[in-house]
Amino acid sequence: MEEVDRIIVHSLRSIGCDIEEDVQSLRQFSTELIVATVARCLKVISSDLELPSSLPPGMSARFRVGASLANHVQDLGYKGGDLGYQTFLYSNETEIRKIFMFLVEKLPKESSQTADEPLGASVLLHRAICTELSNQLSASWTPTFMKDRGIRSRSKPPGWQREGACCLQYYHSCPTRTPVGTANLSIKLPRETRSYYTSKLPYVTNQTRVHRDTAPSVLEANTLEVAVQQEWETEWNSVGLASRLTQQEFKRRKRERLLKLIRDRLQQDSQRQERGTGPSALNDLQQVMTSIEAQGKSGLSKTKGSRFAHTEKLQYAKDEEKTMAQMGTAAPQDTEEEQERKRQDEVDGLREELHKVTSDLEKLDLEVRKFTASQQQMDEVIMTEEKSAEEKKAAYTVKKRTLDLLPEAEANIGKLQAVVDSSAQRLVTLAKQWESHREPLIQQYRELRQLHSQRESEAEKKLEEIKVFRARMKESADEARRKEELQKQLVSEFERMTKDVNRSAYTRKILEIVANIKKQKQEIDKILVDTKSVQKEINSLSGKLDRTFTETDELVFKDAKRDESVKKAYRLLAALHENFESLIHTVEDTGVVTREIRDLEEQIESESSKKILSNLEKISEDLQQMKKENSGLIAKVKGK
């Protein structure tokens, strides 16, 4: 009971009832306290009830309050018996305990629920938004000039909120420079760089034109570097490792590839340009040329100017011949006409010369090419001729030899045969030597090739393993991070939970009680079983008794008609039976009476705990008071 009382008192305290510290059990609750706490419970459960929170002094008012409390509690569904004003005003410990247990059950569980909510990210976010919003709204409105360019600081809870837009700026970043490797002793910085770093380079916060661009510029520099690094890592991990080159090699090859691409593209474009498909570009070039001509003419004398223009034009002509041809008359606008015409004539003459010279050049080029081609052909012919000549010579020598040897034909044939045999032999030995030499070399070659392919496959396997390991590393890093976050959340939740209600002790006690009840149930079952067996024995014994008695009775009765002593014996038997019957009855009655005694004792106990006497006294007192009040009110009414 103590535990229950403590729990009840604790929950009542937690909803705001004002209970003194030393009140630990329901026995110590006075009537006022009971009424106040019940009213508070009802208010918390259903907040729209209008209940006074303390007992009014007037008796009739008290009566009404008690009745209304009883009604409300019954409306909530209390099934523990009849309630009336008497349960609150003239209280009885067990009933009060039951009522409080019922009310505490009914208390809304929101307060406990919020502490047990799983801390999902959306809930956390929602809570953060609510707190921020309530913080912001707790400040009252101030006009613009009282804010520091739109920012407003709060003191509690400390922070700031933005209530204007005049302080906002755009994200504008400028490139920044920082010294690299000044402290690194392995890389040698050139002297100029170091002196630049030391004397001229401004500090990073002083590098942007406007101070407010500092933060974006620094952030941008960092983000750029991180992005480049990540790009490089992904590229290296996917393509670079597979290509099996070192990092520098890989980078060098990539750069070469890109340069080649750029060069090809530029060449293509310039070739397209040469073919004259870009009239606008030509116009630009014309403009440049005319401006240069104008410069040339205005600054210098006539002849010099013309020569200057002449040399300029020749220079351009070396680069773009056709452009010159399409130039046409680049007529300047602000010089004397005669000079112009003369220069034009010169220009034309020179151009004609140029044309002639270039066409001659072309012709000569063509001829040179033709000659080289024919020369090559001739070379080839010579070579074939020489080859055939050699063959013919060889055939001739053979024939000559045979002719010489013909006179001594047989001896020579024999000699020749011997020579042929010996040379065949030699060939065979040579072939054998070659084979013996070749074998081990081929073996070695095969072995090395196998080794090589093995190593390739091993390298590939290792690469695969590296990739798998990397992926697992990332996964485990992620897991570790997630678990750490979870741990932080749970730790903070645990710290937030109230510790004054010792849940583990309660759970332990509950489990103990459950075990006890189980044991008791077992014992009760045993006793029931015993009782049943005893009952059965009694039944069987009484049955046996009856049967034996009837048997004996009959037997003796049969003999009793003839013999006197048998009659006496029969009478004695009957008396014996009767006496034992009455004995059995008395024993049964004793049992019944003992049971009644026990019941009555229990009743006495329960009644005595209801403190009927004191309540009766109180009731009679209150009745007196009510009567007095009534008479007083009647007098007042009559008096008016």
Binding site: P143, T144, I151, L168, G181, T205, L224, E225, Q229
Partner: protein, 195 residues
């Protein structure tokens, strides 16, 4: 919080006692915070007497590393643990880590305020003026006899200190409609504060 490798190098230079002494380190952190926050202290590092003996190139490198660290830590709202782990990777001693945290963490909200100002917005209403007229007649119509409100919303625009006004007129019903909608918005907000 991710920092580029050259920036980590810069920070390591800042943490290296051989290049920057402990006292100079504390002043360097303070100067870095001030240099980021206040325009007049942009170049205060150059004139600070605490760095007289330090090689300027090394000082500039360390300074830029610390400035980047300060801005990135404020951007990600890093806790002291995160910053400590980054600094440990850069081989800082625990003393230097704690002194950095001591100098930086009080300034973090100010740097966050500075970073929070980098954004754009629509014209932001800060105040409202109203005027109630009674419209009697015009040159086409007599006996108009209706109430007209002239409402002027004062707005602040990013970047300029002036207040721009948005003016319009309302009849009584239109103003009731407007006020009704604004009250809806207010109620929605108040409901949110209660969770």
């Amino acid at each position: 919080m991710e920092l580029g490798s050259s920036i980590l190098e810069n920070i390591s230079v800042a943490g290296d006692a051989a290049h920057i002494s402990d006292k100079a380190f504390i002043s360097l952190v303070q100067a870095a915070c001030q240099g980021v926050l206040l325009e007049e202290h942009r170049n205060a590092v150059a004139e600070n007497p605490a760095f007289k003996d330090t090689d300027k190139a090394i000082l500039k490198e360390a300074y830029s590393g610390l400035v980047t660290l300060i801005l990135e830590a404020a951007k990600h709202d890093s806790s002291e643990q995160n910053i400590s782990s980054v600094l440990e990777d850069c081989k800082f001693t625990t003393d230097r880590i704690s002194s950095f945290a001591k100098e930086f963490l009080p300034q973090k909200p100010h740097v966050q305020l500075l970073l929070g100002k980098i954004s754009s917005s629509f014209p932001h209403i800060v105040d409202v003026d109203w005027r109630l007229d009674y419209y009697i007649k015009n040159n086409h119509l007599e006996k108009v006899n209706s109430a007209v409100y002239l409402i002027s919303l004062k707005t602040e625009v990013p970047g300029s200190n002036d207040i721009q006004e948005v003016q319009f007129s309302c009849s009584l019903e239109q103003l009731q409609d407007l006020v009704g909608k604004l009250k809806d918005a207010t109620k929605c907000m108040e409901k949110l504060t209660q969770g």
